[in-house]
Symmetry: C2
Subunit: 144 residues, 2 copies
DNA sequence: CTCAAAACTTAGATTATGTCTAATTTGATA
DNA sequence: TATCAAATTAGACATAATCTAAGTTTTGAG
């Protein structure tokens, strides 16, 4: 995705394409992982333009509200963010908190009976367990 | 669930049944909602035995590790807890952060190919949208 | 173009949530 | 009952996130 596409993405959502906001969105689009706000703040400040901590948080909030970015809450850790590209689910590591993408599959929707007066916006699956990095060392706890 | 059952639950998981730990577990078993640590702390301190904030957090951690309690992370809000009774999924309100139980349904497991070296422990579905309390006032935003 | 309003950014203070420390108390069991 | 690992405690500390108030930039009406 090139710079113009990101600009159109922002403006299509009613957000001005400021240098700071662009930097946050571009970083998320170009990096596949799930960085924390602190990591994004650090990354966009390694090069110009500079962006304050408040602005980084403000822009992340705006991007999430606009539906361009997803926020993933992880128990006991800082929230993580990713650009909403292809639909996908998430795997969260019990041990290190790492968030990884899992391929999309349709989720069984609740019947309108069990949904009641609620308004459903989305369904996602969270897979939990040990990531590829943590699984081996956990399995060998007693051995090592 | 009576007191003895809770005691057996704790001791069956290798945890001593102390007054403070019992109070936390009993509160979660007896209250259907999804209280925060702060709410649990306040609740168990309305009556004896008293429990410090550190102990409340320690016990919640122990109960989660033992698999008796589930912790639910919510974007931008304090974590919430519930006793793991019947299996169920969760609905999280976009607007107020309320966590509500949704009836259990089996989750499509990822193929071992897409799982790679990860070790899967559980799959849960998070439904998102507006809870019954927030849905009406949101729909009438422009009207009111 | 000009200017006022709206949107945006900023540094740093502040709040919210959760963890840690070091001293004390409790309780299982020998 | 003596022992000692497990548990509790008050309050300091850490981390993540939000707020405030002032300044800057963009927009668009006139
Ligand atoms: Mn993702
Ligand atoms: Mn629940
Ligand atoms: Zn891991
Ligand atoms: Zn709600």
């Amino acid at each position: 995705m090139d710079g113009e596409a990101i600009k159109r993405l922002l403006e299509g959502s009613g957000l001005r394409c400021t240098a700071q906001r662009y930097a946050v969105m571009a970083f998320l689009v170009e990096h596949a992982g799930h960085p924390t706000a602190a990591e994004i703040f650090e990354a966009v400040n390694r090069l110009d333009p500079r962006s304050s901590r408040a602005t980084t948080y403000n822009n992340l909030r705006d991007l999430v509200q606009a539906g361009l970015v997803r926020e993933v809450a992880v128990e006991g850790r800082a929230a993580r963010f990713d650009a909403k590209g292809m639909r996908h689910h998430h795997f969260i590591c019990d041990r290190c908190g790492e968030v990884e993408d899992m391929e999309w599959c349709d989720v069984p929707r609740p019947g309108s009976g069990s949904l009641g007066k609620r308004v459903l916006r989305e369904c996602e699956i969270i897979f939990r367990g040990l990531c590829a990095k943590c699984a081996p060392r956990h399995a060998s706890r007693k051995v090592s």
